[in-house]
Subunit: 479 residues, 2 copies
């Protein structure tokens, strides 16, 4: 008998170890790093299969429209989307999602997965989950282990208690990220597995584990769920109790203290994409160990990873050895390959120095589509704006700027004051300072326009909203 | 007594050794590499002094407006500007300019200088020229030598015939670019000097040298001068004889055979900026040999040169050793420092592969100002256009595209068909497909607008010109 499994996808993280592709405003899970689509889309599609319920999502409020937009792109219907007022690590997020599942069925099987790892063989992964199912149904919390092929010091390890069957084995203990010698010994032993950070369990079993080992977190998360408010299909967790939650991983808060753990091996490929060297390892290289992606050209290089993200950008590398370079039009990373693990503090340093590229991504997603700034100068700014089919920006006005729109793809419906009209390709519209206006895409395909703003102040916060399809007035996100 | 010296500035070259900053369409001499302004502007200002006539310029027709615009920016009035139908190396270019000078005064002193070298101390350089003057007046062709401080294999050397006085000494011979051992021996000797490629001579002496040693070049250049036509203040050399000229350096064609040579030492700083390593040598570095320019950030690097040209672009370098990296929004170079001399063939390879960045520069200069492409997509292109005060684009039309203009700085005068009007900041204008139109800047400051083109074909060659202030109709440059 196959039980329906409810996936919980944790997608609130904001790592910088893949900067400049991953930034605070556009973290790794929403970027196309390897494979088709974003890592989050891959994670969702992997479990959008018979036998799996719609996924429960936990994310940061800033990413809520990214989540729904990316799911819509790949045709996956989400279950509840829980919005964290701020990041509180995996313990609180996982527990909130589990409580949401338990409310409907305390015995439901929950599969909690990160959204920013790479698993190429989806069917093999689902098969591993099914092999783990009996242990989870029997009240175990199942961890998933990957057979190591190198003495990796960047991962935690799992120590099975006795020989692994297809279904797995009890888990003896977790091993923290090891030193090199210990990693080599574990690799040689043939016993230890990498901890993939994936869990399968009955909802009530996880809640019970929190009750025993982290009751303070259970209290706060319950309170945050009790004070959550529904908002456009999202569930905003209660702010005060959430902020009061301990910022801790589920491994540390609960699992390392629990006695009912299990480990099942997943024998397929897996990567946590924890840095550019991990990405490089998954990318096809030539005979000299050189990978070129996008508009990259390598001349006489060795063991070097070159990646260009700009659609009209080129990178020429000459005589490099052991280098990772990633180019975007606004930001370029060049690092010695064995130093890419140090990016976190470096991005923090850029942030402290006020470098916008530390956190901001050139393309900003909105519930109705996205925009990017093409150029800006004294008193003006030029944006490219793409509106999804059927979507509308808010009815809004600006105190300090006027706007000129030129439609370049599709048809726009434009309302200015009380007048509404359709604007075709190459049609233009002037929005005077202070005028109430609204932009919609009545068509079946994305509508694209160039916006030229002029004025004494051009900040995103110069916006007054009168009506919005996305409940963003009076306060909230811009545009 | 001080004689007036006529500078000849050769500025037709198109090197790629400083790619991506120097490209075919925007060569090194017109770029701001080191110091204030472009190297060409520095060369012109160096000699815009009492005792020097307005410079005679020899350049490629493609760069004629760049030359005049850059001179205007620094307030230098040019003498004759000779336009080469195509590059023919230094022999023909130098001779053409010399003939132009000789036409007015065969005994005039000519100082021929490259436009892409760096000399920081202008006064010291002029003093060196004045010390060389007596030899030149006495009928010598004076070369200028730099005292070497390293065994450079990338330069030619000068071998003085006997001890150098302040005025110099006869030149015994030229030494071609040496092998390393020979360069070290010459450095150790204390006798040899680097050939700076600068010449001082009487006009009739140089013409006579060509008559004796390269009469075929003299014939063709005379014919090209005789069939030259004046065009908006430029002198376009006759095409047929010019193309028939030998493509050879003046050193090889004439100087190595001449007996009346002289060498005067210039003791100040000098660099040919022949590659990124030469640029690096002129740039201030920290205690670990690291230079960062523009938005570059170095973390734990050594002996590394990092340069960012994009005004809103950042480069992060981590753990690099002996690397040169130059970032522009559309092109990035990363090279091992000791390999930067190999850029020429690499850019040729990019060109052969159809990479636009090999030759095209994002900002294109026109006689009326410049434009740059901000973005392009299926059926549209967005440009930023800057028109100089008082300048006008041609009266033109396009068969395949319509245009929308939004003025962001200044005031535009726009003619469409028979209607003329002024358009202020944030005003917009629609130019239908096929409509005759003209754009001017009637103001005192640069006028800037955003142009959105839409149509099935958006090439620069879709232009019909009816009238042009720069004599570009019916054929010629675009816009």
């Amino acid at each position: 008998m196959t039980t329906t499994i409810t996936p919980v996808i944790l997608c609130g993280g904001a790592g910088t170890r893949l900067w400049p592709l991953s930034r605070r405003d556009h973290p790794k899970q929403f970027a196309a790093i390897v494979g088709q689509g974003s890592l989050f889309q891959q994670a969702a599609l992997r479990l959008a299969q018979p036998g799996f319920a719609p996924p429960v999502l936990v994310t940061n409020a800033d990413f809520r429209f990214t989540v729904t937009q990316q799911l819509a792109e790949v045709g996956v219907d989400p279950g509840p989307v829980l919005l964290e007022p701020e990041g509180r690590n995996t313990a609180a997020a996982l527990l909130a999602a589990t409580i949401a599942v338990a409310a409907a069925d305390p015995d439901a099987l929950v599969l909690a997965v990160p959204s920013d790892h790479r698993i190429a063989d989806d069917a093999a992964f689902r098969a591993s989950v099914r092999r783990a199912e009996p242990a989870a149904r029997a009240g175990r919390i199942v961890t998933f282990g990957i057979r190591p092929d190198r003495p990796e010091t960047g991962f935690g390890y799992l120590h099975p208690d006795g020989p692994l069957t297809a279904r797995g084995a009890p888990l003896r203990r977790f091993v923290e990220k090891p030193a090199r010698a210990e990693a080599e010994a574990m690799l040689a032993s043939g016993v230890f597995l990498w901890n993939a950070g994936i869990l399968l369990f009955r909802a009530r079993v996880m809640v019970e584990a929190f009750r025993r080992h982290a009751p303070h977190i259970l209290d706060r998360v319950k309170a945050a769920m009790a004070t959550a408010r529904a908002d456009l299909g999202f569930l905003r967790l209660g702010e005060a109790p959430w902020r009061d939650c301990e910022d801790v991983s589920v491994d540390y808060a609960v699992l390392e203290k629990a006695g009912n753990l299990w480990v099942t091996a997943h024998d397929g490929d897996w990567s946590d994409l924890g840095g550019w060297d991990a990405v490089r390892r998954l990318s096809p290289a030539d005979g000299r160990g050189v990978t070129t992606e996008g508009g990259a050209h390598a001349f006489d290089c060795r063991d070097t990873y070159l990646r260009v993200e700009g659609s009209d950008q080129r990178l020429v590398a000459l005589g490099l050895d052991n280098v990772v370079a990633v180019a975007m039009p606004d930001a370029v990373l060049i690092a010695s390959r064995d130093r890419t693990g140090e990016l976190g503090p470096i991005v923090a340093k850029l942030r402290a120095d006020g470098v916008a590229q530390a956190d901001s991504f050139p393309r900003e997603r909105r519930p109705w589509g996205y925009f990017e700034t093409l150029t800006q100068g004294e008193g003006f700014r030029v944006k490219r704006i793409v509106v999804d089919p059927g979507a509308s920006l808010s009815l809004q006005s600006h105190v300090h700027r006027a706007e000129n729109w030129v439609v370049v793809t599709g048809t726009a419906r434009v309302t200015i004051g009380t007048e509404e009209r359709l604007v075709e390709q190459n049609g233009s519209v002037f929005i005077p300072q202070g005028a109430r206006h609204r932009l919609s895409n009545p068509g079946e395909r994305p509508m694209e326009l160039i916006e030229v703003q002029t004025g004494s102040y051009l900040g995103e916060d110069d916006i007054i909203r009168y009506a919005d399809d996305y409940a963003r007035c009076p306060a909230g996100l811009t545009a």
